[in-house]
């Protein structure tokens, strides 16, 4: 196993994994155009899951908080964005690109602002009283998720809610034999921009330095004169806003959403955080891309295995790297 790890590290480390999976599936699928379509779909799905999962990973890494209610922000983001888009139906269908973009910005902005506020409320009222008690964290955050689901049910009803898409994100473009949905391409690009922003904050700013140090050794950061609890509220709020943005993107991707959206995504989000390595944004991105690609490839090659593919992926990766692909240094 050590020799295998050394060889993989020499070739590019765990970053090589999605490339290797894509290469193997290229051979198995046979048709390059199908492979390309599935790969783009997998990358787009991975980026949306990354948006939902990155905050959860940092929250766990920084404060050792197991937040099973994280997916409540995904649900809320999805429904709020869908409602804003529904109320701006005229702008969505308008031939004006500016109105299309304005509708999208309004929807995503509303979802993120609500995510920030809900994150502050969640951290202050629900999480703070149960710091350093994992069992109570699990119970109270799962309880909060159920309450949020019921709230959504009461406000938006139980029937699937239709989500409109701006006209400029409808349709597809063709490169050679490959058809790429515009919305998927957009989801991939947005995820990439968010990742680049997070990377810049974490690696180029003093705030990011504090977050990375806090993930490693919270106590020492406090002994150096910084209030990590205040930093944590900020990270929690940002993570909640990103989850809401992920939910908003996912709503547009699915086009029909139900109050159980967050709970359905929770397992996938946790799988991504675990296989990526707790507390690591790079690991979360890697995990999300792997899950996105595997879901699409396995769904095409062996549809019956599709549901189990994420669990199998997690098992294999944890057997190989028990701390995940790219865990934060502890």
């Amino acid at each position: 196993m050590d020799k295998l790890n050394e060889t993989i590290d020499r070739l590019g480390g765990v970053y090589l994994l999605p490339v290797a999976v894509a290469a193997v599936c290229f051979v198995l699928i046979g048709a390059p155009s199908s492979w390309a379509t599935l790969t783009v779909a997998g990358l787009a799905m991975g980026m949306m899951i990354f948006l939902m999962a990155s905050g959860l990973s940092l929250v766990f890494g920084l404060m050792d908080v197991l937040n099973f209610g994280h997916s409540a922000f995904v649900s809320l983001g999805a429904f709020i964005a869908a409602s804003v888009l529904a109320s701006l139906g005229g702008w969505l269908g308008s031939p004006s690109l500016m109105l299309n973009i304005a509708a999208l910005v309004a929807a995503f902005g509303a979802a993120m602002v609500f995510g920030l506020i809900a994150g502050w409320f969640f951290e202050t009222v629900i999480i703070k009283p149960v710091y350093s008690d994992h069992l109570r964290q699990i119970l109270i955050t799962m309880g909060a998720l159920i309450v949020v689901e019921e709230l959504i049910l009461a406000i938006w009803g139980g029937t699937p809610f239709s989500v409109g898409r701006p006209a400029f994100l409808e349709g597809a473009f063709v490169i050679g034999d490959v058809t790429i949905e515009i919305y998927r391409f957009f989801a991939f690009m947005l995820g990439l921009i968010v990742y680049a922003g997070l990377y810049w904050v974490l690696n180029r700013t003093r705030l990011g330095l504090l977050i990375r140090a806090g993930v490693e050794n919270r106590e020492m950061v406090e002994a150096l004169g910084f209030r990590i609890d205040r930093l944590f509220i900020g990270v929690f709020m940002a993570g909640s806003a990103l989850a809401a943005l992920g939910g908003a993107m996912w709503a547009g991707y699915e086009t029909l959403i139900t109050p159980h959206l967050g709970a359905d995504m929770m397992i996938v989000v946790f799988i991504v955080v675990i296989i990526g390595g707790l507390g690591s944004v790079q690991g979360t991105l890697l995990g999300a891309i792997m899950v996105g690609l595997m879901s699409n490839y396995v769904g095409f090659l062996a549809p019956k295995l599709s549901l189990a593919s994420n669990m199998l992926l997690m098992m294999v990766i944890l057997l190989w790297r028990p701390n995940g692909l790219k865990p934060a240094v502890k």
């Binding site: 490693e216 106590e219 004169g225």
Partner: protein, 234 residues
């Protein structure tokens, strides 16, 4: 007036009462050594001063100000630095990033940095390398360097020679002598030879209580007391 004063400090960790009644005064300047056998409560005393474990009841006063109940970060901002037993190095960060975190505003005082390079040349040599890749001795140097990158009034250092090679221990002793000209050091140490070479005043903790306080010179001269409290010749 003493720089730091502990009065009837009691600390419990979960259901265990670790410190029963700790009182001593640390005068300004020089090195004050806190000695005692394994598990006596020395590290707990330092952590209680830093607010990492809350002493209750009892008080910790620093320059006459009561620190009891303050957050660790606020205690640190009053000019108290902490070098923990496990060194508290951020292994995923570079040496430079570790040092930046210990500065008040993210910038270095170049004169002070040069002084640190003189004390610990490894800091300059491995400046842009990940701190996790440093040896044990280099990590200890970084931990101390981090504590002195800003002017402090008191540095709490927990067992800095643990597991270090003799040559590095000598280097560390030289550095501590120079640092103690500028800052008071409260040193917890198991290596009595190291402690006696540096200490001006001292206290011995036994089973969570202060068993002796006084000058290091008197303690060194009293072999019976040393044997009784530290079991040096046992």
């Amino acid at each position: 007036m003493s720089l730091l004063s502990l009065k009837n400090m009691k600390t419990s960790i979960g259901q265990y009462h670790v410190l029963h009644d700790v009182s001593f005064d640390v005068p300004e300047g020089g090195v004050f050594c806190l000695l005692g056998r394994n598990g006596a409560g020395k590290s707990t005393t330092l952590r209680s001063i830093m607010g990492l474990w809350s002493p209750s009841p009892g008080s910790v006063t620093f320059r006459g100000e009561d620190l009891t109940g303050l957050h660790t970060a606020d205690i640190s901002r009053r000019g108290i630095a902490f070098v923990p037993e496990d060194m508290g190095i951020f292994g995923g960060l570079t040496v430079e990033e570790n040092m930046i975190l210990a500065t008040a505003n993210g910038t270095f005082d170049r004169t002070r940095l040069k002084w640190i390079y003189g004390l610990f040349p490894a800091i300059e040599k491995f400046w842009d390398k990940p701190a996790g890749a440093l040896s044990g001795g280099q990590k200890q140097m970084l931990s101390v360097a981090r504590a002195i990158i800003e002017p402090r009034q008191l540095i709490l250092i927990d067992e800095p020679t643990k597991g270090l090679a003799p040559s590095i221990v000598d280097n560390m002793a030289e550095a501590f002598r120079e640092i103690s000209d500028k800052t008071t050091i409260l040193l917890v140490e198991q290596n009595f030879e190291f402690a006696r070479s540096l200490g001006r005043d001292m206290a011995v903790i036994e089973d969570g209580r202060v068993a002796h306080t006084g000058s290091m010179a008197d303690f060194v001269a009293d072999k019976d007391l040393q044997d009784r409290l530290l079991s040096l010749s046992a």
